[in-house]
Chain length 134, copies 2
């Protein structure tokens, strides 16, 4: 039910090499750039399978694109993302977990799940901007 193919290996390897979130289309272009013969549909199908299996994180950008990234941690966690250069840090926050559960219970909600994403300017980008006086 999960056959190892040239295409799937290529996607897996690419995800190992790439540090931040990339869209399916970007990943497809990168693969093509590496000389991999792979169709866009296959990239989508592979990413979807990986996401279902919890092997990659999926985020939705503000303009409605799905972006994917290999998850370093196995447990539930969140992201801190630089809004300028896209650098990401994986973080966890026990306090948020418990806060979410509490708030949910307070309003009579069960099975609480939550999405938390932090956006900011990383020190490198802040410095760059400071220098340029932007």
């Amino acid at each position: 039910m999960a056959r190892m193919t040239r295409q799937r290996s290529a996607v897996a390897e690419l995800l190992d090499d790439v540090a931040d979130f990339r869209s399916a289309q970007q990943l497809h272009e990168l693969l093509r750039g590496r000389g991999e013969g792979i169709g866009l549909a296959t990239v989508y199908r592979t990413l979807q399978a990986l996401a279902d299996g919890g092997e990659v994180d999926v985020l939705r950008t503000a303009d409605g694109e799905s972006v994917y990234r290999r998850c370093v941690r196995r447990e539930h966690h969140h992201h801190l993302i630089c809004r300028t250069c896209g650098a990401t840090v994986e973080i966890d926050g026990p306090s948020v977990e418990s806060w979410a559960a509490q708030v949910g219970a307070l309003h009579g909600f069960a099975d609480i799940e939550h999405t938390v994403e932090l956006f900011g300017t990383c020190s490198a980008c802040a410095t760059a901007r400071g220098v340029r006086g932007d």
Copy 2:
């Protein structure tokens, strides 16, 4: 630069009446149901303008639809959303705010913004499901 038209009033009124997040398409259908002659494109344009002006909240559903809702509170806040019936509760969480700022600072990030959404099953839906033994 912002002319008041029949269509815009209709959208504004509808947003006042509707409690939870609705997609542009749903809002358009609701307007048509009310007998308002209004085009889908106009609904999109109007919602976009309202969102730009900070008068409505925009969320992205997991399947890539944008959903809109008039913001009751002026201040920054979050949402608790029933994944079954879509009921929403606006919440605030000082602990999350400070946690976000701390985590950001710890990693050298400035200007931290965050998105936090909680999803759960509201008591009504939990009961309904329990009764059916689903």
